[in-house]
Amino acid sequence: MTSAISESSITPFNPARMRRIVLEMAYAGSTVHIACAFSIIELLTVLYRHHLRYPGNDPRADGRDYLVLSKGHGVMAQYACMHELGWLDDSHIQSYFKDGSDLKGLSDSRVPGLEVTSGSLGHGFSVGVGIAFGLKRKGTDQKVYAIVGDGELNEGPIWEGALVASHHRLDNLMLIVDKNGFQAMGTTDDVLALGNLQAKFSSFDFETLEVDGHDEIAIDAAIRQLWVTGPNKPKALIARTVKGKGVSFMESINLWHYTRLNPQSFAEALGELGFTGASK
């Protein structure tokens, strides 16, 4: 357990440290959606550490890559990474959800570093399609990553956008599905079964791979491979994830879509991540 702490001091975007920040925000703000954030931690750490380019560390640099968090419910994970980049400071974390604070419970594009206003599902991906279309038209090498939840795939515009992305050969666009198997009211299998997602996106003429969404090395390798294979095709990375990953009593327990931390569960969760208390 102590290894997480020592590693956290040297590795940028260390997943345990990112989860601690999510817990601190959720505890400070007495908010929900912890499990939604935990399932995409490693996807974000790999993207921010190895792939996303922000010239001058400017979240609004013209030449940046775009990370579109279509599943806005995971935004605390993105806040944690933005804190690591210095785009958010400790006061943002501690004042989360307080009256008058800037950071909302769902992604708001007015915050530098967040590209879309999401949370109403099935919006961000279409915006990402438009960004990718525009960047390709401009002839830049900028990339667009759009993270959607598997539950979000219930939304019709996702499939409209998938048709458009392949029709226009948007090979600068990568759709990343956070396949944690849950949506608000139950499992995706029980609510609206998605079937074989890799086959579905392949049939929409995406270059697709499925990966363990908590294995950073595997995620990194899959992203690199997708960018060099399937010329002229948009990419789809199906990431098998665990909702609530990292804290045993949250993992695949859908209540943690809605449950708030109390002092005891906060301390226990931090302990499981290898921390003896909050960072501040």
Binding site: F125, S126, V127, I131, F133, G134, E160
Partner: protein, 312 residues
């Protein structure tokens, strides 16, 4: 009017290569010139309006100037949430073109008719709403929509009713009314928008009433509306749109607060069309044909003069 729309679009696209036309598989012959002259700026996004509007937001985010075309029943109505969240929230420069507004698709029924689009769009922050009345206003509205560099809903109604203005209008100023004709100050004045201007012009001529065109539903200039109320004895609003939430609502929101005035709101009653028929037939069904409107305004004139209702 449609030719002037097409010409304006082509002109803007030739001037600025960032202008892109997105259509949801509509506008079959309307875009012949555009496709011939600016083929690279034409995108048929398929019968997928929600994605198209989100995509337009993405294009605007990376510097393009999308004009998104659809029937008003779909753009804005089907895509109202994309307009709110993806475009208006960040004041992105996207022009939404809703064609066939009102009862243009009279024979096709409710799915293609649009009498709630102004009400829905007016309540979205940062979104301007325009409704040109003739080819001159259309050209000016297109120029304004491009120059304003923010989100605009441009409502295109029945387009073959002839001119209202005698020549090109000067450039549009945000929210300002355009005076069409002078008339008697002891009678009500008319404020009309879009396709109803032709009817309004005929009626105001026969009753010798003042008439203003409202090319903007939002913003709507408070001083202009108050001045119209002060210059006349009561107001009448006229629109091919629901009486709820459209021009009549916009005018009364202003007068009730700034210049208490009796206002007769003439528009589509709060109901769907019953029957199939021509545009003229459906206007009659909803009491918006020239005879029905003349009768209502005549009665209103009498009421105002006999009751001396004008509120100082």
């Amino acid at each position: 009017m449609r030719e002037d729309f097409s010409n304006a679009l082509v002109r803007l696209a030739l001037t600025d290569s960032k202008v892109l036309l997105l259509t949801g598989d509509h506008g079959y012959s309307l875009f012949d010139e555009f496709r011939k002259i600016c083929p690279d700026q034409y995108i048929n996004a398929g019968i997928a309006e929600q994605n198209m509007v989100g995509m337009a937001a993405g294009l605007a985010r990376v510097g393009f100037r999308p004009f998104v075309y659809g029937l008003a029943a779909f753009i804005p109505i089907r895509t109202i949430e994309q307009i709110k969240l993806d475009i208006a929230h960040d004041a992105l420069p996207v022009v939404l073109l809703g064609d066939g507004a009102g009862f243009v698709y009279s024979h096709l029924g409710t799915s293609h008719q649009s009498t709630e689009d102004i009400a829905c769009t007016r309540a979205i922050p940062q979104l301007q709403v325009l409704s040109p009345a003739d080819r001159f206003e259309m050209t000016a509205a297109m120029d304004y929509a491009y120059a304003t560099n923010g989100p605009v809903y441009l409502r295109m109604g029945k387009a073959d009713l002839g001119d209202v203005h005698t020549g090109p209008t000067s450039s549009l100023q945000p929210g300002r009314l355009l005076k069409i004709r002078d008339g008697r100050s002891d009678r009500p004045g008319l404020i009309a928008t879009g396709s109803m201007l032709r009817v309004a012009l005929d009626i105001t001529t026969s009753f010798d009433l003042m008439l203003w065109s409202a090319p903007f539903l939002k913003p709507l200039d408070v001083d202009d509306v108050c001045a119209a109320a002060q210059a006349t004895n009561g107001l009448v609003t006229l629109e091919e749109h629901s009486v709820l939430g459209g021009l009549g609502a916009a005018v009364t929101e202003i007068t009730s607060e700034h210049q208490p005035t009796r206002v007769l709101r003439i528009g589509v009653p709060d109901r769907f069309s019953e029957h199939c028929g021509s545009h003229a037939y459906l206007l009659r069904e909803h009491g918006l044909d020239i005879d029905s409107v003349r009768e209502r305004i005549g009665a209103y004139c009498k009421l105002l003069s006999s009751n001396s209702i004008a509120l100082a």
